[in-house]
Amino acid sequence: VSHPAKLRDLLTPTLVAARPPGGLTGREWSLLVRQARAAGLLGRVAELADTDWPPAAQAHAAAARAVTQAQVREIHREVGHLRSALSTLGAPVVLLKGAAYSMLDLPSARGRVFSDIDLLVPRSALSRAESLLSMAGWMTTSHNDYDQRYYRQWAHELPPMEHVHRRTTIDVHHNLLPQTARTKPEAERLFEHLVPVPGHAGVFTLGPADMVLHSMTHLFINDDTSHALRDLSDIDLLLRHFAREDGFWRLLLARAVDLQLTRPCHYALRYTAEVLGTPVPPMVLSAAARYGPPSPVGTVMRWVWKRVLSPPSSTPSHRGGSLARWLLLIRAHWLRMPPGLLFRHLVIKALRLHLRGKGRSAELQTTVREG
């Protein structure tokens, strides 16, 4: 039997209203901090005005802000290094997701935590980009034949590359979805609307509509939904920001068709509006609705998304959450790989997991710092 206070979702109302609900008890404040931390959203909540928060909650907010500020410094530094490493690539270098939000200082960058830098380059420039990056110190992290083959033959990115001194990780993509996915954009079309990053010649981001569609795809065709609410909040902030530009909604729907990303676009518009109150015009919602799944599937998916998009917690309010996550994992693999390949991939993964555990040890170790 659990304490009733635990059952309440305090995080979603905080995101919708851009302030925590009034009159919270001490225990409820700690529940809000916990829900935000587990959702990867503590940094974003910490960006809200915290002057009337209790001191204990303010302390957690200050700690979270220190992390996001460190990340902003790091991303600016790394983009400088990337630009010089890739200055002779002869092809556009496109920043994706968190790195793009941060370099353009978009609202979705605020308080966002990310662990690696995602790049997109044309497929024709991929191997050249890889060798230029390794000359600048970014080395592949995968030393296993199956992984190398998996990435190079089927994936839409190279194995992650880690810098030997600074320990930053970059993922170099040539598309937004794996080569084996059922529907995916034609990679060349992603370069049609690039936006230059100020102060970094040769470095770009996707155009506004494409950037939003990538964020939508990332959430709604993904095997890892542990930070689903954070990803939904990104989409919400991007939509609110770009909606101020004339013709944005029409462009978004047109690009969804161009890039074959209509299904994730439908889900994203529906659930940002429902869960976070994003002001999506009704005409846009109904136009996107025709890209939804047929009704029996739609009903199941609705049950699934509603669970996944509530704050992660181990409380009974979340019952069904793990089933929902499992269904999405299966779905994501189904959408990304033909069945035969999927079966093979899962068998190899399972065998390898059995042979060696991976993870971190609890003993206290001072980290070795370099550079």
Partner: protein, 308 residues
């Protein structure tokens, strides 16, 4: 006078640890909610945390942690201990009998990986006469032995692992927690301070035998911060007599940086905080083998004042 864990009695303490709300206690400056159904953990918490104040059910909780037993996924006859924060498992499980050390390591991890409102240095901190000594050093240097020797000889324990430095004041905020000792140093301290309360001892960890002692009386509920006056890099050398080797301030600075958990997170502010700390400190290395001699050395230091 606030009620502490020992006022609960062993069975009520165990009941709370096993309940969904957990045992809620103040390990200043934090409030912890601890859950465990593991009998060895329940007994160890009751002994080691005996003097820690209880907090109201409605208080703000900084970290909700738990340590439970779990069967090994592929070898179900093997029991393992898992640590969870908010239901997440940040570490690999350990053998079942290491459940209590795992709880301690897990709580340390919560502090050093998340509490960036402080600059955090891997260091023991003790205070006497209003001035604090920082003992920054990696494991195996004799830091914990020296820390325990001083703590059980009248110095106030601020922390045996994690120095929390307040950026605004440059003072160390006390976070007294059970003192962890390993292998030979356990008997060294039991001989030096027979009254020290041993709360938990586990053999065969990756670090060897690990023991946890209750903090000395008076350390737990004293929340006064202290100004660092000495940065001392301890080194246990068998047979050596107590010996001080002066360090340049720059060396003291680098020692604190190297032992800091979040210097990089705080950026320029981290640099300023450490520079301000070192500006007011004598920095030296300290070789010793006898805890009694070491305590005498530090006692004389605390009465003579800074000699620079």
């Amino acid at each position: 006078v606030s009620r502490t864990v020992k006022h609960l009695g062993a069975s009520e303490c165990a009941r709370r640890l096993g309940s969904s709300g957990g045992l809620r206690l103040r390990a200043a400056p934090f409030v912890l909610a601890v859950r465990s159904r593991v009998p060895a953990v329940q007994a160890a918490v009751h002994r080691v945390y005996a003097d820690y104040p209880l907090v109201d059910d409605d208080a703000f909780v900084d970290f909700e942690v738990e340590v439970q037993w779990q069967r090994h996924g592929l070898r179900p006859w093997r029991q393992l201990a898992v640590f969870r924060l908010d239901g997440e498992e940040p570490f690999n499980p350990l053998p079942a009998d290491q459940a209590f050390p795992l709880l301690e390591w897990g709580i340390n991890w919560c502090v050093y990986s998340m509490c960036h409102q402080y600059l955090i240095v891997h260091a023991a901190v003790l205070e006497r006469g209003g001035r604090a000594v920082l003992l920054p050093a990696p494991s195996g240097s004799g830091k914990s032995t020296l820390c325990a020797a001083l703590a059980f000889s009248g110095w106030r324990l601020l922390s045996d692992e994690l120095a929390l430095i307040d950026p605004a004041s440059g003072q160390v905020v006390p976070h007294p927690r059970p003192i962890s000792l390993k292998n030979a140093s356990i008997d060294v301290i039991r001989t030096h301070a027979p009254s020290a309360k041993l709360g938990s001892m586990v053999a065969d960890t990756k670090k060897g035998v690990v023991a946890h002692f209750s903090p000395p009386d008076g350390s737990v509920d004293d929340q006064r911060p202290a100004h660092p006056a000495w940065v001392v890099v301890p080194r246990y050398v068998a047979g050596a007599s107590a010996c001080r080797l002066d360090l340049e301030r720059a060396q003291g600075f680098m020692t604190l940086v190297e032992n800091s958990f979040n210097y990089d997170v705080l950026g320029a502010r981290g640099f300023e905080i450490i520079a301000a700390v070192v500006d007011h400190c004598d920095c030296f290395e300290f070789e010793y083998s006898s805890p009694t001699e070491a305590v005498a050395f530090f006692n004389s230091l605390s009465v003579t004042g800074t000699d620079k």
